[in-house]
């Protein structure tokens, strides 16, 4: 954990004393995924329309994201954050983070909007089998992630091959 934290401290440009916490790292990573993912044109109303991130069941990550996103753009678009309540629809979202607290909800959520170009990110083991596109894993003191390219393909999401190199596991697309 110390190695991880030391590394991440580097990335987050934090002063030597502080150690980043897991949710901080995950929030940072989540934000950093975004440039490597391409959404279809139709998922945005207008060229300048914002990219909306929905967070379900991850208040800490949500807070962290609120610190990160102001003034930043992704693909030239502003980023907007929305807290999702239980039962609320994922319509209008481009990214949905399902926290550990709501991990059992992954399948339900993914089934609700199976074709929506929605980057579903989770942090529970086996979430990919439940329909997530990206799933955070923590192993050997490092935060890593796995990617389901078939799920991404199904949702018309293009994920840059450059991200695949740093992923722990990649599930290939259906060919």
């Amino acid at each position: 954990m110390r190695a991880l934290l030391a590394t991440l401290c580097l990335l987050l440009a934090c002063p030597a004393a502080a150690q980043p916490l897991e949710h901080e790292v995950k929030a940072a990573f989540l934000f950093r995924f975004l440039p490597y993912v391409e959404w279809p044109q139709q998922s945005f109303e207008a060229p300048g329309a914002p990219l909306t991130i929905g967070v379900l069941g991850a208040p800490h990550i949500e807070d962290e994201l609120r610190h990160i996103i102001p003034g930043r753009t992704v693909h030239g678009r502003p980023v907007v954050l929305r807290q999702l309540k239980e039962g609320e629809s994922a319509r209008g979202l481009h990214v949905l983070f399902v926290g550990r607290a709501a991990s059992e909800r992954v399948r339900a959520v993914t089934r609700l909007a199976p074709w929506q170009p929605l980057l579903v990110v989770s942090e529970s083991p086996g979430a990919l089998e439940q329909g997530a596109v990206v799933n955070f894993l923590v192993a050997d003191g490092r935060v890593g992630f796995e990617i389901a390219l078939d799920e991404a393909e199904r949702r018309a999401l293009r994920i840059s091959s450059r991200m695949l190199g740093v992923a722990v596991r990649v599930r290939p697309p259906n060919s």
Partner: protein
């Protein structure tokens, strides 16, 4: 410095020096220019290349950097193995701390971490490059590269190539200069050695060989021609010298000849002071010999006059037939005693010439005397006179000893003796024909000699333009230095001073001109209208009409407007000169007028 001397003293040295210097200079300038350019572009090129490399690496390692995957980052950096010139590379996070690194050569990483590495550029023998990594406007970190610079190696190689090229170029230069030597300097040297031979040994038979078609060949040619000329003139000088010596010998002999009889005669007179018939005989002998000497001296004087250009002809309208008759009469005694017969063919009517009667007689007499001299007893001499094509032709033919082809021209040369012994026995200086030719030429004509060869007789033809045929034919030839004979003009002299007018008129008449005289302006005007003179000499200060007014009126009148007007006056103010010019005078002279001025005017017009 000896080699400086070698260059200054030889054309070959110079050409070699030129070739070598230009080659070296060109090479050095070229090399320096290229070297400078190389250095400049090499540095730029390498930096550009490293920048690109860093950018590529940055893009490649961005995800690894973004997601903290050091393993991935190291994998990305390892592609640098393909670039042996890149010694080390390092990847740094946003805060500058080292994330991943690559070391291509042991110990190189330390260089990458040195403070110099932070700047971009060339230091020591290394290139340093750094490039920031951005993703979506996020500053993720930095990639730094350290590469080996081969700058100094290149310079050394360059200088090596330069040295090699220079060596080759010098060899080529030596070959070229050897060729130059053959083509250019050798011909020059040949001319130079020929020149030196001429100067040192006074040997004018030396010639320079002509070996090329260029300017040097022309120089050699010109040099040779000059030597030809020198040789020829030397020859001519020798001949002239010899002739002069012969002439002096002849002269001495000819002068001495009459002296002996004269001395004898004097002695005789002394001894026979009381015998009148002996005295008479002696006087006659002296008279004869003196006549002979006078002849000789006259000839000598004529010769000197001709050669110094002081011979003046008194030309007037003369009848060539009458002159011929008198010359024939003069030669008759000589012909009779020589046993030759002279036949004549003369026209019945007179043939008029503008000539000096005395001189023309001299010419005919000379030719006839020669014919008698050079024809044996019993020979025939013919004298013919005729007019042909506006010219007088006089022909003297004989069947005597003839003239060989080579001498047909040289017999007219001064002091030429056709046959030394014969000439001497007959008496004479060898100047007769030369004089005759000169005299005829002064009359605007010429003499030619013709002969079928030795022993086969000869013919001399004299051609002179007849009077009435205007001298504008272009016949008139000035004897060099001599005053050309003016052709006769119609002249009017107007002056109230009768003595002056008469004397000027007499002078002008003596020169062969037709002169009219008037003693005042009105008379002068009337005379001018009547006779239409070619030249008018007008006095200025005259009663009834002065010179200016007269000139003015003459210019106004058509018949007289074209004449030459000469003012002769006692006034000599500059204002008068201008007045004369304004009045229409062509010339202005102050009394007394010199005869040379008169002659000038007459010949000029």
């Amino acid at each position: 410095m000896r080699w400086v001397q070698a260059i200054r003293g030889s054309v070959r040295g110079k050409t070699m020096a030129v070739v070598l210097t230009t080659t070296l200079a060109a090479l050095i300038v070229n090399a320096l220019a290229l070297l400078a350019y190389e250095l400049q572009t090499y540095r730029q090129t390498r930096l550009d290349d490293l920048r690109t490399q860093a950018e590529i690496l940055g893009r490649a390692t961005a995800p690894a950097l973004a997601f903290g995957d050091r393993k991935e980052a190291l994998k990305d950096l390892s592609v640098l193995h393909a670039r042996p010139d890149i010694l080390a590379a390092s990847l740094h996070g946003a805060d500058g701390r080292l994330f991943a690194s690559y070391e291509g050569s042991p110990g190189a990483l330390a260089l990458a971490q040195s403070p110099e590495a932070l700047s971009v550029g060339h230091k020591g023998n290394l290139f340093y490059m750094s490039q920031s990594i951005f993703e979506e406007g996020n500053h993720l970190g930095e990639v730094r590269l350290v590469a080996r610079s081969r700058l100094y190696d290149r310079i050394v190689t360059y200088l090596g190539i330069l040295a090699g090229v220079m060596a080759v170029a010098l060899a080529v230069a030596l070959l070229v200069s050897a060729w130059l030597q053959r083509a250019i300097t050798r011909p020059i040297v040949q001319i130079e050695s020929a020149a030196r031979a001429v100067v040192e040994r006074q040997d004018f038979t030396v010639r320079a060989p002509r070996t090329s078609e260029d300017e040097i060949g022309v120089l050699a040619e010109a040099f040779n021609r000059m030597l030809d000329e020198v040789e020829r003139r030397q020859g001519e000088l020798r001949i002239a010298d010899r002739r002069k010596d012969e002439f002096l010998a002849t002269l001495a002999h000819e002068l001495r000849n009459p002296l002996a009889p004269i001395r004898n005669a004097v002695t005789l007179m002394k001894l026979s002071a009381d015998k009148p018939e002996v005295l008479a005989e002696a006087r006659a002998m002296i008279e004869r010999q003196v006549k002979q000497m006078v002849h000789l001296v006259d000839d000598l004087i004529d010769v000197s006059r001709i050669t110094t250009g002081k011979l003046v002809l008194r030309r007037e309208r003369v009848d060539a037939v009458a002159i011929a008759r008198s010359a024939l009469e003069a030669v008759e005694p000589l012909a009779r005693s020589g046993g030759q017969a002279i036949t004549t063919r003369l026209p019945d009517a007179p043939l008029y010439l503008n000539a000096d009667a005395t001189r023309l007689t001299q010419v005919f007499l000379n030719l006839l005397n020669n014919a008698v001299k050079f024809t044996d007893a019993g020979g025939l001499i013919e004298f013919e006179l005729k007019a042909e094509g506006g010219q007088l032709k006089a022909l003297v033919r004989d069947n005597g000893v003839g003239i060989s082809a080579g001498q047909l021209e040289s017999i007219f040369e001064m002091f030429h003796q056709a046959d030394g012994s014969l000439e001497r026995s007959a008496g004479g200086l060898g100047v007769g024909l030369a004089l005759a030719r000169r005299l005829v030429e002064l009359h605007g004509g010429g003499i030619a000699a013709r002969s079928k060869g030795a022993g086969r007789g000869s013919e001399f033809e004299v051609v002179i333009p007849l009077a009435g045929a205007h001298a504008e034919h272009g016949y008139s030839e000035r004897a060099p230095g001599a005053d050309a004979s003016a052709r006769p003009q119609r002249i009017l002299v107007v002056d109230d001073n009768r003595d002056f007018a008469q004397s000027l008129a007499a002078l002008l008449r003596g020169m062969g001109n037709e002169v009219h005289v008037a003693h005042d302006g009105a008379e002068g005007y009337a005379a001018a209208r009547r006779i239409a003179p070619d030249i008018s000499f007008l006095d200025i200060g005259m009663p009834k009409m002065n010179g200016f007014a007269l000139a003015h009126r003459l210019r106004q009148s058509e018949t007289t407007s074209g004449a030459i007007l000469v003012a002769i006056t006692g006034f000599s103010q500059p204002a008068d000169r201008q007045r004369a010019k304004d009045a229409g005078f062509d010339h202005y002279f102050v009394k007394p007028i010199e005869i040379e001025r008169l002659q000038e005017i007459l010949t000029r017009h």
